[in-house]
Structures are given as C-alpha cells and as structure tokens.
C-alpha cells in the first residue's frame, strides 16, 4: 500500500469518485487550474474539465446554494469553502436550506452534497483569527446535517467516499494542520468508513478521552506519556460529530468510569459539551470522577503571534496535565 498524505487522500477520493460517477462535480474558489489553495483538487480540472470542476466567483453562499440546486436536479456536487472561517456567509444556505430540504418536503426532495472545508490551526501555522477556526459546533447543532472531521489519511479517504454517496448533506471538515504533516498507508482501491461511527484508536482501562480532528494526535501523545506511569487512557476518535456515536461513547465511558473530552474548538456550547452531557446522563452510575473538558479558551480564535497562539492551542502537555488531574481523582 502506498503511503500518502491527508490532502492526497482527499484528492484521491474526489478523483476516484468522479471517475466512477459522472454526477459528481466540484465547485469552489480556485479549485480549477490552481487545484485549490491546499492542492486538494489538484489535477481534477485537467482530468475532468471546467464543466465538472468549476472555479466559482468569490461568493460562499453561491457555492453552497448552487450546489444545493445541482443536488436537487440529480447531481452529486462537492462544494469547497476555501477556509472553514469563510463558511458563515453560506450558513443560511446550509442550515436553513440544505439541512431542511428533505424534512420540509416530506421526503419528496433531497439534497445529497458534500461541503468540504479546511479547518483548524495551531502554533507554527500562521493562520491567525480567520484562518484557523473550528466551527463544527454550529453545524453539529443542526438536524438534517452530518458533520465529519477525519483525523488521518485513511479515514479521510474512506469517510469522503462515504460522504459522496450519502443521501444527505455532509459537512466534511479537513484539518489543514494534518494536510501534509501526516502520511499513512492508504489502500488504492475503494473502501468506505461509515459516517457516524467513532473508533477506539488506543484502548485503555483508566480514563476515556473522547476527541476528534488533529487533537486526536495530541491526545495520543499525552496518553503515551501517562502510560509510562501505568495510567492507561482509552482514546476515542469520534470522527463524526453529527450524528455522534452514542453507543460507543456510553460503552467506553461506562467501562473506564472517567471521561475527558478534548477539542480544539472553543469550549462553550461545543461538541464536547454534548459528549459530556451524554455521559453525565447515561453513565451516571459508572462515573468515578467529574466529566472533564479541555478546549479552546474564551477568546475568538487563534491569534497570530506564536506567544499568543500557544495560549489558545492545546498540545499534549496541557492535555496530559488534565488527564493526570482526572486520574488522581
């Protein structure tokens, strides 16, 4: 199996599905000749032409709204938003329209489409306030949408193929900190990773840490450090944050009895709050300690200067401290 990067996995999934299904078309800013600002659509314009790989005007509501129209008319559009930070202009099309089309038409119409966007930041990534945000909570709140955040190349390809075949709108948020930093063996042939299933990426008996996106790797590093002291942390990569894998959440939390939720996004009213609330309601009798959360502080996003960015970002050390606190409880 060839080793490929995360962004190559995204591109391979798009290319393979476009070869297989001519209803799949791609639209977004700079997705054509340039192949996307991160190269996620590299080569597609050359292979499939400007009718299927459309360099859109600079208008996010249009990118999503036109994609909705394409979906209504039987295509399988992929809308790329250049940075997740620029999805708010398309929010109305996503939450008022795409999410509600099947329900409001009593199943007469549907809207199968994928909205892709790079998200996230971190120290040493110079994205600052508007090229770093994790906004998944805004979509995870909305019935009718599915929200996926793969943490590695294998999942990126398998989940994107699943998203492309899903009957409903899927928000597919790719962590740009992982795009080139992570290589992995990925099958060349087709495979699907089902939407809505989390995965235990490290089994452990003492604490469960639920997380997703790039934070998975920071949690894994922290977990290794704790393992040296024989504290075994189970790490669950949620992978999909809407719908959440409730079964896995409850099962793992019940087994370990201690839970930390770690997320890169701002903490308040985030996905981690939902996970914590599920655990607090459904695992009450099994809990051996408070359900803890760690995530972005109460500032708008990651500032530019490294000295400031560090305050926002988690990193293994902060996570380790929190895990030790919970372990000691």
């Amino acid at each position: 199996m060839p080793e490929i990067t995360y962004v190559e996995a995204v591109r391979d999934a798009l290319r393979d599905e476009m070869r297989r299904d001519d209803r799949v078309i791609v639209m977004g800013e700079d997705v054509g000749v340039k192949g996307g600002v991160f190269g996620a659509t590299q080569g597609l314009f050359q292979e499939f032409g400007g009718e299927r790989v459309i360099d859109s005007p600079l208008a996010e509501a249009a990118i999503v709204g036109v994609a909705i129209g394409c979906a209504l008319a039987g295509l399988r559009p992929v809308a790329e938003i250049q940075f997740l930070d620029f999805i708010p202009p398309a929010m109305d099309q996503l939450i008022s329209e795409a999410a509600k089309i099947r329900y409001r038409s009593n199943n007469d119409w549907s809207c199968p489409m994928v909205v892709r966007a790079p998200c996230g930041g971190g120290v040493h990534v110079h994205g600052a306030l508007y090229h770093s945000q994790m906004l998944e909570a805004l979509f995870a709140h909305v019935p009718g949408l599915k929200v996926v955040l793969p943490s590695n190349p294998y999942d990126a390809k398998g989940l994107l193929l699943a998203a492309l075949r899903d009957p409903d709108p899927v928000c597919f948020f790719e962590h740009k900190g992982l795009y080139r930093s992570m290589r992995q063996e990925v099958p060349e042939e087709e495979y699907l990773v089902p939407i809505g299933q989390g995965k235990i990426v490290r089994p452990g008996r003492d604490i469960t840490c639920f997380t997703y996106g790039a934070t998975v790797h920071e949690v894994l590093t922290a977990a290794e450090n704790l393992s040296r002291d024989e504290i075994e942390v189970e790490v669950v990569d949620l992978r999909t944050v809407r719908p959440l894998d409730r079964g896995l959440i409850v099962e793992s939390a019940t087994r370990t009895g201690k839970v930390l939720v770690a997320q890169e996004a701002n903490l308040a009213v985030g996905v981690g709050a939902e996970v914590a609330a599920i655990v607090a309601e459904e695992c009450f009798q099994s809990l051996d300690g408070p359900v803890m959360r760690i995530g972005g502080p109460e500032i708008p996003a990651i500032p530019f200067a490294e000295s400031l960015a560090e305050v926002y970002c988690l990193g293994p050390a902060k996570i380790e401290t929190k895990l030790r606190e919970l372990a000691a409880y």
């Binding site: 394409c70 008022s96 007469d108």
Partner: protein, 334 residues
C-alpha cells in the same frame, strides 16, 4: 389593446382555446386565493398569503413553459403559477388546512411553500431569495447534462436586496445558464415601499450590470408577460443564457393574513390598484374581442367554484398528519 390586433384567430401566437384557458387559470387562481382567505377568516386556515393581483404575471410566465418538463422554483405568491404547472386546488387546500395529504410538505410547512417533485416544482423554505441560487444550480445541472430545459425562479422586488440574489444572477450570467429570474414587483415588501428598497426605477435596470438581458413588463397584461417570457425561454433553451424579467404587479391584498396594509398605504393608492387588476383587464379584452362570449366568464367562475368546493370538501374530510410521522425524513436511508 394588444389583444384585438389579431383576434379572432388568437393573439401572440396563442389559439383562442389557449387564451380562454389562460383566463380560466387566472380565474381559478383568484378564486382559490379568495377561498383560502375566507378559510383564514373563519379561523380554519391558520395562515394565508395572497397572490391576488399577480395572476397576469404568473399565467403569462407559466404558459411560456413546458409543463412537466421545465422547472420552477416559486415563491409564496405563486398560487396561480403552480396551478398552471400542475398543482390542483385540492393540493393547495390540503396545505391550507394542514392535512396529511398536503403534497407540498405533508403540512410540515406553512401553506404557500410550494413543492412537487412530480411537477418539477422545487421545494422552498421561508427565507427570501435563497431559491435564486438553487435555480442557478438546477440550470447548471441542465447545462452539464446537455438538456434543453429551463428553470424559472420567482421572487418579489424586496427579495432582490438580498445578497443571494446578486450572487445568483452573477453566477448565471458567467455560465450563461438557462434560468429566468422572474421578479414580481408589487412595489411593497410588507410595508416597505420600493424607494426604500432600491434607488432605481426598475428592477430590470440591474440586468446590464450582470451582463444579461433585462426587461420590465406590465404584469397586469398577461399577454405582454407571455411574450416577454416566451422570448426569455427561447433564449435560455437555445443556450443564450439567463434573463431578468420584471413583471409589475399589484398587491391587492395585505402582505399576509397577519398584516393590514391600510395601516401603511393610502386609500387612493389602494383604490388605484384596482384599475390594474390583471383578471379584470384580461376579461374585458377577451370579451371585447369576442374570445369570451357574454356571460361566459360568469359560467367559468361557477365551474371554478365547483372545483374548489369539491376540493374543499375533500380537504375538510382529510386527516391531520399522524404525530408519529413528525420524526420521519430528517435523513434518508443510506
């Protein structure tokens, strides 16, 4: 009078039969609209929004389309347009009375949120102007598949102030897509007059800025609308790209059953409107050119009322949606 030019053989390339049918559809739309308002006043239909005064625009455009072939993405005033495209009074009264059999949404949405996959009427929500972008996407799909279908999206003049409207027209012009942007300009957005909505006289003045043809027509003159729409449809079908078509209408009723336009419009203004009633104008034209015989309009009216009565009787008896179904269809089966 445009109409009498070539009567009695018909006008605007339309046979006498077709002209009569246009009148009948306008009439059916008007009477159905009135019925819904009555049901609302009786406390039986919780909400009503009227298309009275827009029938000329809607029938003119509808007749320029190929039913069950071309697509429309209507807005809440398009009661008559959706009738032309294949919906029935029964369908609409099911919606007005929130019956399970409402084909638009199974009574999940307010009435006048039209939808029918069978008739290529695309589902719409309440946010104004979002549908403009959907129409562009539908047209993009037509073009991609090499189909010669056309899609019409309608909106009020107030809706043209939304960002989505701009983004949609711009995209359609760049890609020369087969879409017609119909603006039913009734001079008010709820209480806001056109002068507070835009600093131009005609919405169609904006077409040039997008690089597409634009036209304003008298929406009170169904045949003028028909001609303009037919031209736009021919252009779109032939690969000539989008058109901005403005039909100037009158809003004979208040914005909706929750509004009272006498609170913000003068009595003269309201009176003056009546002179532009498209239904009355068309009747007079058809009668004066003997396409409608004396008394025929009344007869048609009675026939329409019968259809509506029967529809209402059916809707009256129809069941409300099953509560258990409320949770269905948030997602499809993978």
């Amino acid at each position: 009078m445009a109409l009498t030019e070539s009567a009695p053989v018909g006008v605007a390339g339309l046979t006498r039969e077709r002209l009569r049918s246009m009148y009948q559809d306008m009439l059916l739309g008007r009477l159905l609209d009135q019925r819904v308002l009555v049901l609302n006043r009786q406390g039986r239909a919780p909400f009503a929004i009227s298309g009275q005064g827009h029938e000329g625009a809607q029938v003119g455009v509808g007749y320029a389309l190929r039913r069950d072939y071309d697509w429309i993405i209507p807005y809440y005033r398009d009661i008559t347009l959706v009738l032309v495209m294949g919906m029935t009074p029964r369908d609409q009264l099911m919606a007005a009375l929130a019956r399970a059999g409402d084909p638009n949404s199974g009574a999940r949405q307010m009435p006048a949120h039209y939808s029918s996959r069978e008739h290529n009427i695309v589902t719409g929500g309440s946010p104004v102007a979002t549908q403009i972008l959907h129409a562009v996407g539908v047209a993009q799909a037509f073009k991609y598949r090499g189909e010669d279908k056309v899609v019409v999206a309608s909106v009020g003049e107030g809706g043209t102030s939304e960002g989505d409207w701009h983004e949609g027209l711009n995209w359609a012009a760049i890609h020369q897509l087969p879409v017609i942007f119909l603006v039913e300009n009734n001079a008010f957005a709820i209480s806001v007059p056109q002068a507070l909505q835009m600093a131009v006289e005609h919405v169609s003045d904006r077409a040039a800025g997008y690089g597409m043809p634009g036209q304003s027509v008298d929406g009170g003159d169904v045949l003028a609308v028909y001609r303009a729409a037919s031209e736009a449809v021919a252009r779109a079908r032939g690969g000539g790209g989008p058109t901005l078509l403005e039909a100037n209408c009158v809003r004979l009723q208040s914005h909706s059953s929750d509004d009272d336009q006498r609170r913000y419009r003068s009595a003269e203004d309201l009176d003056e409107m009546l002179r532009h009633d498209p239904l009355e104008r068309f009747r007079v034209d058809l009668e004066s050119s003997s396409i409608l015989a004396d008394g025929e309009a009344d007869q048609m009216r009675q026939e329409c009322q019968k259809v509506i009565d029967a529809a209402q009787a059916e809707a009256d008896q129809a069941p409300a949606p099953d509560p258990a179904s409320a949770l269905d269809y948030v997602y499809g089966e993978a």
